[in-house]
Structures are given as structure tokens and as C-alpha cells.
């Protein structure tokens, strides 16, 4: 049986097909992610192509309202940009930041957790105290701090260029302790299992045992947390961008769009901010529901 066939025969796939909410969230998430990734090819307009912007088309309401323009399904903003296209491009940025931030947390957290759990003693104490200290600072605060420092230290144009990576680093750096704690716990369980002792009797090195034996057996929970953290990271980025310290305005994310639209909310142009908001909610909710399902499906106690 090859890997694909095995996957469709697995308990995981079975539990997936049995769970309508999960299937719906997966479809919704797939649409969101697909729309974002494929934005340059499928978006009706290019919001960054200044040549195609028509100031005359500014503040068009959604297509179904009386003054709507069928060209702009979800209406346009103050500069005549198509809101739907802006959302698709914005989600692209949001997802990129979220995904890379989670990858960074996973790499940091799994390494730290594996080392702390397997080596124990001083290594464990030091790494876990660092994680504890990290946990006492809210994510947003750390991100603001990192952003502030880089902003002060770097010239403005340089900062704008690397702003995206600063946000990724800020969010990724603030989330690693949850991975480290989980991996540490699982590692301590696996370390005492007899297959690890068998490898030690042979005399394998600690690094080799950690990577070849322990790591594959502690990755299950990591996948679950990573999925849940993806939603969290996207939200964190949106919050930062809403506060104006996130991604640069030249690459607006969903959070940036909401902030920009917020200015027009009370003058009646509600669609500029509401639609990006709904997109954000739908994206994060579907990803989180998938994470919840994954957690239940991989937990033998709840099966």
C-alpha cells in the first residue's frame, strides 16, 4: 500500500469524513487559502497597479446595493481599489506572516523542548525558566518592543523593507514556549520508554537518539498546536497591523485593510472595513476548527 492509499485508509481520514463541521471548515479554509495564494492570477483587479485605479470608482458600495457596480463585487475603497481583490492580496500577506511565524516557533520550540526534556538537569532548568519569563510578557507587547527597537535603530526605508520579517520574527519568537512545553513533556515520557533505552544500550549518541527515535514520536501534538497557532499568529499580525506597527502599508494585510477601512466606518462606507473583518474571522475560525478536530482525532483518550 503506498502512502496516499494508506492515508485515505487511516483513522484520521475516517474521523475527518465523519465530522461535518470539520469538512466544512476544511473547505472554507481551502477556499480562503486558495484565494489568497492564487490572488495574482484569479483576483478580478490588481489593487497595487496604480495605472488601473480609477479615482472615479472610489467609494462604490457592494455590487448588490442600488449604486453598486458589478465590476466591484464587494465595493471599492477611497482610492477606487476593489475590496475583494484587496482582501485576497491582504490574506496572502496575513497567511505568509502566520505560516512563517509558526514555522519559526516550531523550530525554536521543538529544539528547546527536545533538549530540555531529553537532557534534563541544568539545560532543562535554564530553557524552561527562559520560557516561563517569555510567557509573562504578552505577545503584542513583545512585538511592539521588537518593532520599536528596529524602528529606532534602522533608517526608515530599510525598516520598511524588512518590516514584514520583523513582524514574523516578533510573532514567531513570542509563541515558541507553548511548543517547547508540550515537546518537553512528551520527550520526558518517550525518553523513559524502553525503545530509547535499547538505543542507549547500543551506545548511540544523544543527538542521534533525540532526532531518530524521540522526535518522530513527539510530533503529533506539535502538528495540533501548530494548526491552532496559525490562527493565533494571523490574529496577532492583524492586531499589530491594526495598531499600525505591523506590515508596511505598501503590502497591506487583512489587519491593515481593517484599519484603513475603520476611518470610513462612521461616514457610511462600512464595506471597506467589514468585509476584510469577515474574511479574517472566517479564515481564523476555519483554521482553528481544523486544529480542534486534529487535537481530538489524535488524542487516543477521546477516540
Amino acid at each position: 500500500m503506498n502512502a496516499v492509499a494508506r492515508f485515505f485508509d487511516s483513522d484520521l481520514w475516517w474521523s475527518f469524513t465523519r465530522n461535518p463541521i470539520t469538512v466544512i471548515s476544511a473547505i472554507v479554509a481551502a477556499i480562503c487559502i486558495g484565494g489568497a495564494v492564487l490572488a495574482p492570477w484569479i483576483a478580478p483587479h490588481n489593487p497595487f497597479d496604480l495605472a488601473s485605479l480609477q479615482l472615479l470608482d472610489a467609494f462604490k458600495p457592494p455590487a448588490w446595493s442600488p449604486e453598486g457596480d458589478p465590476n466591484y463585487l464587494l465595493g471599492t475603497d477611497d482610492q477606487g481599489r476593489d475590496v475583494l481583490s484587496a482582501i485576497m492580496y491582504g490574506a496572502r500577506v496575513s497567511l505568509l506572516v502566520g505560516f512563517l511565524a509558526v514555522v519559526m516557533s516550531v523550530v525554536l520550540g521543538v529544539s528547546a523542548g527536545l533538549a530540555a526534556g531529553y537532557l534534563g538537569g541544568t539545560v532543562d532548568a535554564v530553557l524552561m525558566r527562559i520560557a516561563d519569563i517569555k510567557l509573562t510578557f504578552p505577545t503584542i507587547l513583545i512585538a511592539l518592543l521588537i518593532d520599536g527597537v528596529t524602528r529606532a535603530a534602522l533608517p526608515r526605508d530599510v525598516h520598511d523593507q524588512i518590516a514584514l520579517y520583523v513582524v514574523i520574527f516578533a510573532i514567531g519568537f513570542s509563541n515558541w514556549p507553548s511548543f517547547a512545553r508540550t515537546v518537553r513533556g512528551s520527550t520526558m515520557v518517550e525518553r523513559n520508554k524502553e525503545y530509547v533505552q535499547a538505543a542507549r544500550v547500543i551506545g548511540l549518541g544523544r543527538g542521534r537518539i533525540m532526532v531518530t527515535h524521540v522526535l518522530p514520536n513527539v510530533l503529533g501534538p506539535v502538528l495540533v498546536i501548530a494548526t491552532l497557532q496559525l490562527g493565533f499568529a494571523i490574529l496577532a499580525e492583524a492586531t499589530l497591523s491594526f495598531l499600525g506597527v505591523g506590515v508596511p502599508p505598501t503590502q497591506p494585510s487583512l489587519g491593515t485593510l481593517i484599519r484603513i477601512g475603520n476611518d470610513f466606518l462612521f461616514s457610511g462606507e462600512w464595506w471597506i472595513t467589514i468585509f476584510p473583518g469577515i474574511a479574517l474571522i472566517v479564515l481564523v475560525l476555519s483554521v482553528n476548527l481544523l486544529g480542534d478536530w486534529l487535537r481530538d482525532a489524535l488524542n487516543p483518550k477521546l477516540r
Binding site: 524502553e194 533505552q197 535499547a198 538505543a199 542507549r200 544500550v201 547500543i202 551506545g203 518522530p216 514520536n217
Partner: protein, 340 residues
Amino acid sequence: MLETRDLARFFDVSRPLIQRVLAGEGKRMLRAVDGVSFAIPKGKTLSLVGESGCGKSTVARLVVGLYGPTRGEVIFDGQDLAQARSNAAQRRRMQMIFQDPYASLNPRWRVREIISEPIRAFGLLSDRGQIEARVGQLLTQVGLSPLDGQKYPHEFSGGQRQRISIARALSSNPEFLVCDEPTSALDVSVQAQILNLMKDLQRELGLTYLFISHNLAVVRQVSDRVGVMYLGRLVENAPAETLFTTPRHPYTRALMEAIPDLDMTGRQRIPVGGEVPSPISPPSGCPFHPRCPLANDRCKAERPELMPARGTAETQVACHAVEEGRDGGPQLEPAAMAAG
């Protein structure tokens, strides 16, 4: 082949420093193994028996170097263990079989990867085809099919997994095997299969075994010599036949007495009272004295040393009552007599 001299291992079970200081208490040491000496000749089997917490599994782990000794030494084929283990050629000669067949195999690895790990780690064979052939041969040797190498551990029953575990241990051509309760997680009909397999392998390959078990009946089937442990110490060490026909230490007798009688002779058993004390604060003197029917003041004060028992050749006992002749001398075990 293997010898231990005054082997001891303590574990620090103290509470964290701050709590300890606040409560005004000192360090607490769990004396898991406290002065154990024995020797196993080449090609023979020594078994260690005792109840949970007596330190027998800790001895097994000390002997293969999973723990370092707090005191004393392990000598493997004339070499100090630490020295032997730093040399791959020596390390290859000792292997271990574990109790839990569900935890002793990495669930994410295929059986052939599990069995060939020692071969690869010691660089015994490098050619893929050769390794494949060797794995197939090992699987056949332990009564499985070479095709089973493709499968994952969860596709096997407990007994089959234990066979895989044995195949892994054999793959580095060891001479000395430490077997930590290899059958206690298995059903009785499968237990017989595994014990027979181990005996066959010993005969064919001239293996030396250190066998750890809490089951006296199993121990009788496999051992040449038996050591009985209680609270981290050897209380009796005797040739297997002698131990089962004329047990000398009151604890050994109590253990025999506790075994349910399958022959249904209707003999009324008198179970030994009390419980095993904590190894953190063992009783003074002889650790068995609170439960011992022969205990007197000397037993409470003075710790008995392992010494040759009066009246039973080749038996060593750590008991004042036996030394002083208060135990009534060697007596045949009633259960053993039943069989004649």
C-alpha cells in the same frame, strides 16, 4: 563473564532545594541497590528475583551501563564496565531485552529498521543486501518470517513483538544478554514460547544471561543460579536446584509460600504478613526483620552479611538466624517435595 562487586546505586529523591530548606530537612536518598555482589560464569544464567522495589531492575540497568554505579563496580569479561562500554567492539557483546513489548519497539520504525539498528550502529555490515539478508536470518531464528521485516510493530501481538526485541538484541552477535522481566507482560501460553526460544538460543549461541523476574516458577525453568533480592540487597544466592529444594533465608521461604498451589493439595498456606518497607528509610539491621518470624534483637540492630550457609553447600545467605542455627537447619520445601 560478568561480575559485580559491592554494587550500589542511590537515587536522589529529595524535594527541591527551596522546599527542603523551608522544611528543614536533609537530602533523601533512595537506596535502590545497596551492596550487591555476584558473578555469572560464561554460558550460564543467573536470575535475580524479588518483589517490586527490591532493586532487581536497577541492577539490570547498572550492568548494561544505563545507570552509573554510586559505589562498587561491574566487571565485564575482566574489564571495568565504563572502559568496556567506551569501546564499540566490547559494547557490541552485551545487549538487553526489556519487559514491555509495547514500549520497547519504536512505533514509527519498520521491523527491519528496528532489528538492523545495532548492525548499522556498530558498522557490522555495510552492504544493504547483506543487512537485509541478516535481518531475514534473525527473524527466522526467532520464529518469524523474513517478510515480517516490512511491517510496523503495531501489526504484531505481544509475543511476536518480544521475538522482534530478541532479534534486535541478537543482531550485534552479543555474548551476554540482560533480560529484564522478558515474559511478565505476556500471556502464559506465549510465555512458554519465549522461554523455550531463549533456552534454545542460549544452547545454540552459548549466551550468558542475567535474568530478572518476580516469578519464581519462571526462574526455576531458566536459571543455573538464583539470587533473591530484598530492599536493594541480596539475601540469598544459591544454585537453582538447591534454592528451590532447600531455601534458607526466611524471605525466600516466604516467597515460596506465597505461590498459589496449582497441585491443589489442599495445603493451607500461611502468607507472610506486612509489606515491603520503603527503600528511602529501610529498617535498621536486617531489612526483613519487621516481617520475619525468626527476628530477634540482633536482627534489629546488626545488618547480616552474605555468607556461606551452614548445612547447605554453595548457598550464601544473609541471615543471623541461619548463621546461628536458629532456623532449624536446612528443610525441604513442601512444594518441592510434592513433585519428588
